[in-house]
Symmetry: C2
Subunit: 405 residues, 2 copies
């Protein structure tokens, strides 16, 4: 697709093909009166002043602000059923232990691949409508070979059907299935499930819930090393519930990302910085669980590139708005608007191994961008609870029409 985007009042983007940590996370390119030229779905030029002569379709932004398409690097958006009752019980004071995951496992096992696709499509469509053009989706509500494959095949079908880049992550190690002894399940993960997922090319990453009450550091290491041998990238659900050393494990294995990190230790922060592992922070979950927020400032100051995600899932975080996570990052994580934009674009892309492809507005990258009904990017997290995405462009195609609500 070719496209010329003109009349951009402010273009705001991080720059580069690598995750940005430390002070670099807060540095953006800001252009006034800018244009973006798209050729064959990729950015051909970004500039200011008079746009080049162009014969194809033109999107006029009428002075609005443009950013890269947002990237949500952590969701569990494919599932069946809901957990309204658990949500209400938590509101009445019950504590989250992660045990409710099995409620969703039962519902997801009972659903067909087609049903999972039908349930997830409108959810992903609503994310796209808010300016999210790349979404990671984890499996982990199947916990059998057949059901995990079913979830990942649903993700593949959704990726074919929707104008979104979906990044599939195998997370059979999300919980323990009640019907299989623990050691036996870890063996199944390593010897049967991971090879089957890799053989079918169904996942780009493998993630393990390494935490109190879930997988130990030793179990997680065994699973992740097996995944690496099969060519998968590595992610770790790390230290969400307690400081068990999961961040240190992520760093040791040179994982692409460590996620949650509410209880990461100072040693874990240092290790992540040295390893270059991206910290994926999920403030919506901390907000909903009334847990302490993850230590964004110590992470950034230690040089760890920080990304933001929604953690959208039916239990701990039925909150599916990445712009809202950006607001929480300012209000609760004390990040600057510049750091927040980098976190929700380039660093989130890096958490998915896609920093060379998306996450910034630069020649050569995919033409994924959002026109916001705002004058400046700092308004995106400021105007909360309204969808400011005025137009969404995916690989050069206007997938949501200008004037969207």
């Amino acid at each position: 697709m070719d496209l010329l985007v003109v009349g951009i009042g402010e273009l705001a983007t991080p720059l580069g093909g690598r995750p940005l940590g430390g002070r670099a996370q807060g540095r953006l390119l800001i252009l006034r009166e800018a244009y973006v030229l798209v050729r064959e779905g990729r950015i051909a030029a970004v500039g200011t002043g008079s746009p080049p002569r162009f014969e194809g379709p033109v999107l006029h932004c009428e002075g609005r602000c443009v950013t890269p398409g947002l990237v949500d690097p952590h969701t569990h958006a494919v599932f069946a059923g809901n957990r309204v009752q658990e949500f209400l019980a938590r509101a009445r004071g019950e504590r989250y232990t992660g045990g409710g995951i099995l409620t969703t496992v039962r519902a997801t096992r009972a659903a067909s691949e087609e049903e999972l696709v039908q349930l997830a499509a409108p959810r992903l469509g609503r994310m796209l409508a808010q300016g999210v053009t790349t979404v990671e989706v984890k499996s982990g509500y199947g916990l059998t070979l057949a059901d995990e494959l079913k979830m990942l095949r649903a993700v593949r079908r959704l990726a074919e059907a929707l104008p979104l880049t979906l990044v599939p992550t195998f997370m059979g190690a999300h919980a323990f299935p009640p019907e299989v002894p623990r050691e036996e399940y870890v063996r199944l993960l390593v010897e049967e499930m991971l090879p089957a997922v890799a053989a079918e090319g169904l996942a780009r990453f493998c993630d393990v819930f390494c935490d109190r009450g879930f997988y130990t550091v030793e179990e997680a290491r065994r699973i992740l090393e097996a995944a690496r041998r099969l060519g998968l990238g590595l992610k770790v659900h790390a230290d969400e519930l307690a400081p068990v050393g999961a961040a240190e494990l992520a760093a040791e294995l040179r994982a692409t990302s460590a996620e949650h990190l509410l209880h990461v230790s100072p040693e874990g922060i240092r290790a992540l910085a040295e390893a270059g592992t991206v910290a994926v922070l999920l403030p919506g979950t901390a907000f909903l669980l009334e847990e302490p927020y993850p230590p964004a400032r110590p992470l950034i100051e230690a040089g760890v590139p920080v990304a933001l995600g929604t953690d959208f899932n039916p239990g701990s975080c039925p909150l599916a708005s990445l712009p809202f996570a950006m607001s929480l990052a300012i209000l609760k994580l004390k990040m600057s608007p510049e750091e927040v934009l980098t976190a929700a674009t380039l660093n989130a892309a890096a958490a998915l191994g896609l920093a060379q492809e998306v996450g910034s507005l630069e020649a050569g990258k995919k033409a994924d961008l959002v026109v916001w009904d705002a004058a400046t990017f700092a308004e995106i997290p400021y105007w909360m609870g309204q969808n400011l995405a005025w137009a969404v462009v995916k690989e050069g195609r206007v997938v949501l029409p200008a004037g969207g609500r």
Copy 2:
């Protein structure tokens, strides 16, 4: 407009033409396999089983949930400029004192009536897209006769242009203009501004910010009594910043509503219950200002009808989502989903003097309803940060098409 709404999997509504307090607030009518018949913009029948024969347009909900159109009884949605810098400063730890109101006063004075209309229309359109069919809008960023009239005329023009019921409230007593001595401004409010507003029929209510640093109880009484003599309904911004006795004043004057109430005293709660004044709670503001949440449970248990609003404004609450306020009401105010639905529909309508017209799905009321992409009304506050409104019907007209995002 005539319309037949069929295929409603669950219809959930409070009942009646008066605000509901105490246990009655938590009682809903729930119908399965229901229909709603609309004649000339009003509900002609609500039933279950086979719908009646009908020759006009049919909206098929395909098993989705239907509720009354939401009512937002407290917004400041007409203004110019933004307060991104104040938002960021507060995130860095600065405390809210209300002083920033004058920033918006300067911007709003500098804007024309036409500019105010152009700025507010997309905001109100985004509220409508989330299922809000009635919105109160307060003046109070003018603080001169001419500028207050300009704001209220903008509300009138918006009401003519948009498929929304807008309820205008005169709130010249929102702050003190810096250029006029305090006593002189109170005199102007009483002797010039209120009579001019009433003469032009521009407002249905008068509201006063009665709080620490704003209008005293004595000043508020004087202004509100003058408003009552002119035929306006009464509202009070009460005890948001400190327990100054504003709720007691609202009760004494038999005000329609007392709003905010973060610091209401036990005596204030008793007085509101005796007076039958609606408590309009605004949890988004408490969330954003990191203030204590208003005491919803003591209010409900004392028999005060509780309504929910957004308080949408560019300073203390740039959070414009009533569904999100409903989520906060469950998570932070410890209200039940049933109480929350009543609070955002019938009780909110009562806070605007419209409980006989909107706020429930019953024969005779305006046919304002929302079809949600959900099986049950409890999902509305549960699925957060996504717009679940699948179709919005205003006075029998489908104003946002089925399948909206």
